[in-house]
Every structure is written in structure tokens, then in C-alpha cells.
Symmetry: C2
Subunit: 108 residues, 2 copies
């Protein structure tokens, strides 16, 4: 199969790709069941970050977390690209600056 | 400030935006400190998914999780678009099909 994604990735294309690949299973598993998989991947990402000795594995774990998060967005009917644009498209949601100058103790 | 993102989002553009907005703070906080923020957002996402009564909040929580994950990728020096293309660009990493036919019990 040819690569379905360019080296850059449109988040909408990625969400569609994940939907095409997994939606039938995802819907059957539901939000809670899918969240368990996300948590497993979060654990694997933590482990890879902590070990910090296998670059390829670290990249895979980031990819897996994004993929499972996208899967949950599909089941919940959320458009990730739209959600990101709305919250972060106009700069930091806290201070509204492009380079955030919120106090360090405050989000984000 | 004008909106920095189109209604679709290039993952590379988003990672650059998050870097511009937050990298100085992110680098100071480091991977572990930033991971704590990601976990807080994961909890808020779980809460929003469970309540399932506030669409706008649910979208925000998805956006926040993607943003904190992207922040950690910046600190760890991982290009998310490249990581996704490598792992998912050629279909399901398990069965290599575009519409996954891996057994339900197996990843993914």
C-alpha cells in the first residue's frame, strides 16, 4: 500500500485515516474501552520518555498516543482540527499572545 | 491577533505554533514537569467524556490534550508529523490494511 500521509500531516486527513482504519472496531469498543487503550499507550510513552535511549521507539509511542486520542475523538464525534483551531488558533488561550507571557505557575 | 491556523490543521504548523507560544516555559519545566500537566488534562478529558453534556468543553479538553502532548514532543525533540507518517502512513501497523482486520483482542 502506498503511504496515505505526506511527511507533513493534515490533522483532518489523519482523523479520516484513523476512522477508515479502525472506526468499526472503535465504535464497538466504545469510549470507555478505547480510553483504556489510550491509557496503556500513555504508560508506554512515559516509559519511553524516562528511558530516553531508543529514539525510534519514542517516536512510535508519540504516534500511538495521537492515534488512540484520535480514535476516541472519532467515537465521541469531535473534529480535532476544529477543536485546536478554536482553542489555540488565536494564540495562547490565557494571555492571547503568540509567545505566551502567562505567569509560570499558571496555565499553560 | 489573527487566527494562526486554518480550519484544517497541519500537524507541523501546530507543533511550530505550540513551540512559538510555549517553548521557553516548556524547556524550563522539562519533560517530567510537562508530563504532569498532560496527565491533568487527560483527567479533565476523562471527566468531560464521562459527563457527556457539554460539547464545547469536550472539544476544549481534546484540544488541551493534543497541545500538551505536542509540548512534550517539542521538549523531547520529536516531530509528530514524521512519527505519525512513519507508523500509520502505510495503513494499520498490525495487518497493513487500510481498513484494519486485526482480531479485536489484538492491538489496535
Amino acid at each position: 500500500m502506498t503511504n496515505q500521509l505526506d511527511s507533513d500531516v493534515s490533522l483532518r486527513d489523519f482523523q479520516t485515516l484513523i476512522r477508515t482504519m479502525y472506526f468499526e472496531k472503535d465504535a464497538e469498543r466504545g469510549v470507555s474501552g478505547t480510553f483504556m487503550w489510550l491509557m496503556e499507550e500513555i504508560g508506554e510513552l512515559a516509559s519511553a520518555l524516562r528511558a530516553n535511549n531508543d529514539r525510534e521507539n519514542l517516536e512510535e509511542e508519540f504516534a500511538d498516543v495521537v492515534a488512540w486520542l484520535t480514535t476516541i475523538a472519532n467515537v465521541a464525534g469531535v473534529d480535532l482540527a476544529q477543536a485546536l483551531t478554536k482553542k489555540y488558533g488565536a494564540g495562547c488561550p490565557g494571555c492571547k499572545k503568540l509567545a505566551c507571557d502567562c505567569p509560570m505557575s499558571e496555565k499553560p
